[in-house]
């Protein structure tokens, strides 16, 4: 006879697999995937006979990376520093602007179009103005990194605030909380997943901003190095620098992701994450 048997009372439920699965997925797969990419790069270059002046092979790039490690490292420090400052600025201002935009419909209507307009402009066009105002040196690069990366933060924070469930806000409003308090106690925590999502985009943009600015006027930095290398027909160095940029991007992303996990663990409780 068909029947529904339920033996033993509900125990603590198991949602995740054993340890080795976790390791395979979190360490194995990215390593394998990355190795795969390098292989494709190397084989592709050799197979299609891509000229070194356009895309050097992976091995040539790694060789250049090793040979010029000192120069590359020196310049990397400069770019990293510039990027981090610009990124920090972008977080602060992006968060403030996002909250302002999410605060009131009028601010939203007034500021948003201007922000979008500004962001449709290639930052390369803005760098010269910055250089003329702030002189050569690192300030224009920091500002470019900031200018290019704050917008995703604004948009995501504003979206997050706009989509807060009013029921949660009501909990605070019922206590007579002022709008600022509602914002800090509900709006902002609730928007943190959006915010951290935007940081992943922003950090990569900040790198691009710093490098682009360095190519238009700086005496150090990976952007400058890449131009020099290009002019000296040392294309493998250009790609070695790009590789370094990628690795930096991943590192900063990983740090961001760690902080994200710490702050938005509550939101990431789906089964597959």
């Amino acid at each position: 006879m068909a029947q529904t048997d339920i033996v033993s009372p509900p125990a603590k439920a198991a949602r995740s697999g054993p340890d080795w699965v976790w390791h395979a997925e979190n360490i194995g797969s990215p390593v394998l995937f990355t190795l795969g990419l390098f292989l494709v790069w190397e084989v592709g270059c050799r197979l299609f006979n891509v000229p070194e002046s356009i895309l050097p092979t992976a091995s040539a790039t790694l060789a250049a990376l090793w040979e010029f490690r000192v120069v590359i490292f020196d310049n990397m420090i400069v770019t990293l520093w510039t990027t981090l400052l610009g990124f920090a600025l972008a977080i602060v201002i992006g968060l403030l602007l996002g909250v302002a935009v999410g605060w009131h419909r009028a601010v939203y209507s007034a500021v948003y179009p201007a922000l979008i307009a500004f962001n449709s402009i290639p930052k390369v066009a803005v760098v010269p103005i910055l250089i003329l105002w702030f002189g050569l040196g690192t300030v224009p690069a920091i500002l470019t990194a900031f200018l290019i990366s704050f917008f995703p933060i604004v948009v995501n924070v504003a979206t997050g605030l706009a989509t807060v469930e009013p029921e949660l806000e009501d909990v605070l409003r019922a206590l007579g909380a002022k709008k600022l308090v509602v914002m800090t106690k509900v709006g902002i925590p609730r928007s943190l997943p959006h915010f951290f999502g935007s940081l992943k985009v922003a950090i990569t943009l900040a790198f691009i901003g710093a490098v682009v600015a360095e190519t238009s006027g700086a005496s150090k930095g990976l952007g400058k190095l890449m131009l020099d290398a290009q002019a000296a027909f040392q294309v493998p160095i250009v790609f070695a620098a790009l590789l370094v940029l990628s690795v930096l991007g991943i590192l900063l992303y990983a740090i961001t992701a760690l902080i994200e996990q710490r702050f938005t663990g509550w939101a990431h409780r789906s089964q597959n994450h």
Binding site: P51, V127, I131, S216, A218
Partner: protein, 315 residues
């Protein structure tokens, strides 16, 4: 009769000094040679040579020195120059009178603004060495192309590396004409050629008569542009409607005078190349560029497509 298609790329955008090609096109000189030529603007020699190498273009005008460096690579496509148009390269140092730089030596202790990708800057070490400049005392700042002249005008840098025609940009940045100083590197021992018409090896092999025809028609274009710069502006304006006619005219005249129509050209005809000078220039490049696979003059240039000297005289 069927016209031969020729895809041509110029190293730069359509400014006054590109007029010879545009004139030749508009006046039908290429058609006269049985060619159907398309002319595209470019973004510099490094990109341009790569595009010829990749087969996107058949012929182009690019910096001969960039070609020499390019050919050093083991896998380089054997592109060759067939007509040298810049008898003297436009590489120079620009400064302003009040900065007190009259001689190369005066650059010591000053700030030199130089875009890292600037062709003129790539020859700065040769220039410095030949003129005994202590480079450790010169502060080189990487300045982007768009701000180079403005920074010079603002005084943030004391001199810049540039093409001689960039004098016009310094003027546009508000420095009076008579205050601008242009130091041609060629006058201080940098003995290089400038840009040249170069063709892909496959095109040279398949259409040798088309290459020769292209060279002939181009020389006619140069002759017309040098003799009638005003008229040549019609072609420039046609192909670049946002250009300012008077500025482009000035640019053409300046480049023609300094680079196209030199004493050597006056005497030996347009496109004259002295094999010894070309070899020496490769040696000179070795000062700054470590060859692994140093090309010979004959690898870089061939005079096979050049018409007779009397056809190459400008006046």
């Amino acid at each position: 009769e069927e016209l031969t298609k020729v895809r041509f790329i110029h190293e730069w955008r359509f400014e006054g000094h590109v007029a010879p090609y545009l004139v030749a096109l508009d006046k039908g000189y290429y058609k006269d040679e049985g060619l159907d030529v398309s002319i595209d603007p470019g973004t510099g020699s490094v990109d341009g040579i790569n595009r010829i190498a990749s087969g996107s273009y058949d012929i182009g005008q690019m910096d001969l020195n960039a070609l020499i460096k390019y050919r050093d690579a083991a896998d380089a496509v054997p592109i060759k120059a067939v007509l040298v148009t810049y008898n003297i390269p436009p590489f120079s140092i620009l400064t302003i009178k009040k900065n007190g730089i009259a001689e190369p030596k005066d650059l010591e202790g000053k700030i030199l603004g130089a875009p890292a990708a600037d062709a003129a800057y790539s020859h700065w070490p040769i220039f410095a060495k030949l003129n005994d400049i202590d480079t450790s005392t010169v502060t080189v700042e990487n300045v982007g192309f768009p701000v180079r002249e403005t920074l010079l005008a603002q005084g943030q840098v004391d001199a810049v590396t540039a093409f001689i025609s960039n004098k016009l940009a310094v003027k546009a940045a508000g420095v009076p004409d008579d205050q601008i100083v242009g130091m041609m590197m060629s006058e201080y021992g940098v003995d290089l050629f400038g840009s040249a018409v170069m063709a892909s090896p496959s095109f040279m092999a398949e259409h040798p008569e088309a290459v020769a025809g292209f060279v002939r028609a181009t020389i006619r274009g140069f002759r017309d542009a040098i003799n009638d710069p005003e008229g040549a502006m019609d072609s420039v304006m046609k192909h670049n409607p946002i250009a300012k006619r008077d500025i482009e005219l000035e640019r053409l005249k300046l480049v023609a005078e300094e680079c196209y129509f030199t004493d050597d050209v006056r005497e030996n005809g347009f496109g004259h190349v002295d094999a010894g000078r070309l070899s020496r220039s490769i040696d000179q490049l070795e000062e700054t560029f470590s060859f692994t696979n140093k090309p010979q003059a004959s690898d870089i240039y061939t005079g096979d497509f050049l018409p007779a000297k009397n056809e190459r005289m400008i006046q």
